[in-house]
Symmetry: C2
Subunit: 117 residues, 2 copies
């Protein structure tokens, strides 16, 4: 097999913006404000000149209980975030700095919801 | 920095299901049937028992002209696909077999649309 192409985006961020009806047992990222926070992150990334980074909307990422959910590829790091301050820290520490925002990392043991979308 | 957690999904597939108004100069993946094809891929992955793979819906991936667009992480491989036969081949060759479907790979040089969403 030939070598793969270079990554099209240096960092590809997916923010769940899935919405469920009120009262759904799993809740949803949208009802926790994920759309607004994703829009903020996209705008901030642009202001910061991060042209090789894409802040994408996504459907259900299946980790709703820990959301709003975000996964950053190619490294596959998952964050739960609540505020624009959280977003700023992810941009500064992870996207620009190459580190991890330890306090926002999703715990690896949360797997029981898989397949129950 | 501590070592990262293992990947939550062995393969995380994002299919653009973004819709734009008819006549938009960039078109959209939805108008090319991406929602139906993504639903097919999700159902087939389940039938194939691929429990460690997620077939996700996504907003605009910014490669509309080559779409319907799909990107598979963590490897960051992009495909343009048109039919359920294309999906079957991606599942068999890439997701299960670990190879690449060369005929469906997006060309790396398509970058001019970046930032024009």
């Amino acid at each position: 097999m030939a070598e793969d192409q270079p990554l099209f985006f240096r960092k590809h961020v997916f923010c769940c913006t899935n919405s469920r009806p009120p009262g759904h047992p799993r809740g949803s990222c949208a009802e926790k404000g994920s759309e607004k926070l994703r829009n903020y992150m996209k705008a901030r990334a642009k202001e910061l000149g991060l042209g090789d980074v894409r802040i994408n909307a996504a459907g259900c990422l299946d980790r709703c209980e820990l959301g709003p959910s975000m996964v950053i590829y190619p490294e596959g790091i998952w964050y739960g975030y609540r505020s624009t301050a959280d977003i700023d820290e992810i941009l500064a520490t992870h996207i620009i700095g190459g580190g991890r925002v330890e306090r926002l990392l999703m715990p690896p043991e949360q797997t029981k919801a898989k397949g129950k979308e």
